[in-house]
Symmetry: C2
Subunit: 199 residues, 2 copies
């Protein structure tokens, strides 16, 4: 073993990052220790702070170290619109791509009873309570068109119906400008089955 | 901005890692905070420990938190053989690929006067003192066949001649099994110019 214990441990710890194999971990270690000692310290502090303090938003379950995330805490979002997404990254993607001005609810997963993921794991009681409170007028589902995503959509549609709340779902299909032969078969079959009358 | 400050800061701090752009940093942040909180803590500690404690080996300049790196401290390496490399990662590559049993010297760069990198920046005085001490019988140069690598090789060859130490250089050329049309032009031209008599 040519590495000292502290170097070896850093190399191994970096492997917890998604997409980082032994070669990348080695490259990252040398880069941090040779050229970027202060960046290593900054990253260490950011990791420790986030690991110690980040929990979930009381309203939307997005990641935050505060009681409410910046969007739920903002007075400038429409509380009558609620977009339901699977992951925190979906929130940022929609914020970047649309001018949506409502709030979000982050499921952090999809219904999957075989994996032990039921309504409780997705925080659906708190969503139900929120719908019962009457402020939400429309739900927009932005969950994936997978088997589990469909089951999740169905479940939430049932809750919306019980609460008398409108519900819509974002369109899935062939991406704009996408060549049909580059689109995966699942997307293409979904787009074909979901065809709408033209003119 | 949909991210809370601690999440945002972690995302930005991860960008110091080589090869990590905004999308990867986001993916890493969510992965650490959603699924891998204890790994985030471990990585934070490993980074802090390494950033605070790792310096360079007194003899070979490789990264280590001790006075001597594991190889220089080992009693089982031949102190008469010294392989000179450019980077710490080269040491591990040679250890993995060969049965070399000598010691190393890590330049951490190449002579490049225009960039302010002279013999002092590469630790060549300490290499000279080591050669003068008489224990090293052969130097093996494993520096890159670039312009700066050649200049570095020439300089060290001069030191070796002054000290009466043998010097060799690892072979550069077309990789084994490498198709000629996949090899870069520099390597191919080098391999062609350095052709040896066949039979
Ligand atoms: Zn929130
Ligand atoms: Zn050493």
């Amino acid at each position: 073993m040519a590495y000292s214990p502290a170097v070896q441990e850093l190399m191994e710890a970096l492997r917890c990052l998604p997409g980082v194999g032994p070669k990348s971990a080695q490259r990252m270690t040398f880069s941090l220790l040779q050229h970027d000692r202060s960046a290593a310290g900054r990253l260490a502090r950011a990791l420790q702070t986030a690991a110690d303090s980040v929990g979930e938003c009381r309203l939307c379950r997005n990641l935050t170290e505060a009681d409410l995330c910046p969007l739920c805490a903002s007075g400038r979002r429409d509380p009558g619109l609620l977009c339901v997404v699977e992951n925190p990254s979906d929130v940022q993607a929609l914020e970047d791509a649309t001018d949506y001005g409502g709030l979000y609810f982050v499921l952090k997963g999809r219904l999957s009873p075989l994996d032990g993921i039921g309504p409780g794991e997705l925080g659906l009681e708190s969503l139900e309570a929120r719908l019962a409170a009457g402020e939400v007028g429309e739900i927009i589902l932005a969950v994936s068109p997978t088997v589990e995503g469909e089951a999740t959509a169905q479940y939430i549609a049932g809750m919306a119906a019980d609460a008398g709340v409108d519900i819509a779902r974002i369109a899935h299909g062939v991406p704009l400008g996408g060549d049909l032969d580059y689109v995966d078969a699942g997307t293409l079959s979904h787009a074909f089955a979901g065809r709408a009358r033209y003119r």
